[in-house]
Symmetry: C2
Subunit: 332 residues, 2 copies
Amino acid sequence: MAITLPVAVDAMGGDFAPDEIIAGARRAREEHGIPVVLVGRSEELTDTGGLEVLPASEVIAMDADPGASVRKMKDSSLVRSAEAVRDGVASAMVSAGNTGATMASALLRMGRIRGVSRPAIATLLPTPGSTPTVLLDAGANAECSPEWLAQFGQMGAVFARDRLGVAEPRVALLSIGEEPGKGSPLVKEAHAALEAATWTDSTFIGNVEGRDLLTDEVDVVVTDGFTGNVALKTLEGSMRTLMTALLTSLGERPEAAAAAAELGPELDALYREFHPDTYGGAMLLGVKGVCIISHGSSRALAVENAVRVAAEMVEADMVGHLTTAVGSPASD
Amino acid sequence: MAITLPVAVDAMGGDFAPDEIIAGARRAREEHGIPVVLVGRSEELTDTGGLEVLPASEVIAMDADPGASVRKMKDSSLVRSAEAVRDGVASAMVSAGNTGATMASALLRMGRIRGVSRPAIATLLPTPGSTPTVLLDAGANAECSPEWLAQFGQMGAVFARDRLGVAEPRVALLSIGEEPGKGSPLVKEAHAALEAATWTDSTFIGNVEGRDLLTDEVDVVVTDGFTGNVALKTLEGSMRTLMTALLTSLGERPEAAAAAAELGPELDALYREFHPDTYGGAMLLGVKGVCIISHGSSRALAVENAVRVAAEMVEADMVGHLTTAVGSPASD
């Protein structure tokens, strides 16, 4: 890894903090050589394997009000992580904590890239046999303007290139029919805004539907944060339901159970391919720094992957590329 | 079956019309004793097994503009099917044709139940080990008011009782968090409208998320037609992707292929449980008659199930129950 500044890992955030967070951070350091700094209550962080600790005395709860807690808890692990990036002490931040508070910390402490109207959460959807699909906004902005959606498309294209190596990403708008005249008023206006936007090394290919999300038909799918979050959680829920139904049905007949045991490697691979932990978390695009939002239920593997992806995005200069792609010509 | 008036089946609509439609209609008649009338071009309807035919000379194409085609093509199989219900010649209508034109035909020819603001499409989502979840609106209204959503909840509760036998349906609003303060402005207002609505033999239980759709946590999920359609298609797409990935992975290793062959019954059952054809199509709730919208890709099984469900809904007097649940006290 070429990065020298450490990745700031919020050791206090997530359902399995701090133990699984520390374990993941250690693996990122020990197996990938990535410099890491843990942020949190030093006295609660044990078995760190010598990882540096940046002290922060407060913890923002998973269900706390994001805005209020970030304003009040100035010595929280989340706020301190974002400040570390702002101050050039860390190269990126990773948290499995309160998603809203992670966004708020990053937005308030790092600030927006100039020219960016609103940051958006980009997440990866598994596409068997092909590169994953980038979906954004996955939940940062419950209400959006058509122009924001156009900018999400431009940011998503940069992310698809830097994160997935897609040379010329195909960007599409999520709707309920392929025709530009279909959909809600927002979607119809967003279609026009996306058509009018500037596409550098990327293409706007029109509307796609929910069934296209997990296919190779598109690289980046743009939608408002409400619809994106519903689609993402519907997808996660249906995967879980189908996997559970499969495993349940395989256990009911002795011959089936034996056959299922034989299929262990295949079922494991499938489970991993569709599991959110595999993808290293979602990314907040549009702030002046790399900020990775990991699932609340992240265990060590998810944290390890999130740190790895954070380091890769720093190395790729994703923030610089976002600035070029959407940055306004006004002085900073 | 207690119904005496036949179910009008649009023999011309759907990707596999008329052969698969006729085959399904015949099976409904022959195996379930349900009276059926085929609607379409007599000369193209062969091998009908003696089913009565109601002639209609025109066919609305799958991709035709719904409003314009229904207005212009007065002798189309869709318009004639809806008129048959209106005129008391048929008890219900079933079509696998153009969804928008099916809705427009039903709305314009049968009319709305008095008191109903907008008809909505109700669809069933598989919930392994439990009754399916009713999702509405699945695509009739891309833009909705909070009050419409409250009424969708009331109609969905009637549907869950009549169609699925749920004694006291739990109705929820689809959002991106369980707290009433989460979501888009529409969702926040709809939450208040749903809380203020009258619930007879049903309960409004608050917000649910996309991951709850396929669980036993809720019986009826209300959303606008844009979000509902995205969720439904995301679900269908993810099921197809996961099933395909599973079958592909099972074919790659000889021992796995043998084990998979042993699992035939389990995989078949799972495939059937999650296949849309199993559920007999979606229903347009709020018009003065039973109108079933079957998948465009419906084959005989899907049509057979759709006709069976149509007859059951007539027998249950679902339209009467909807009228009582949402009907305004004003004179008709």
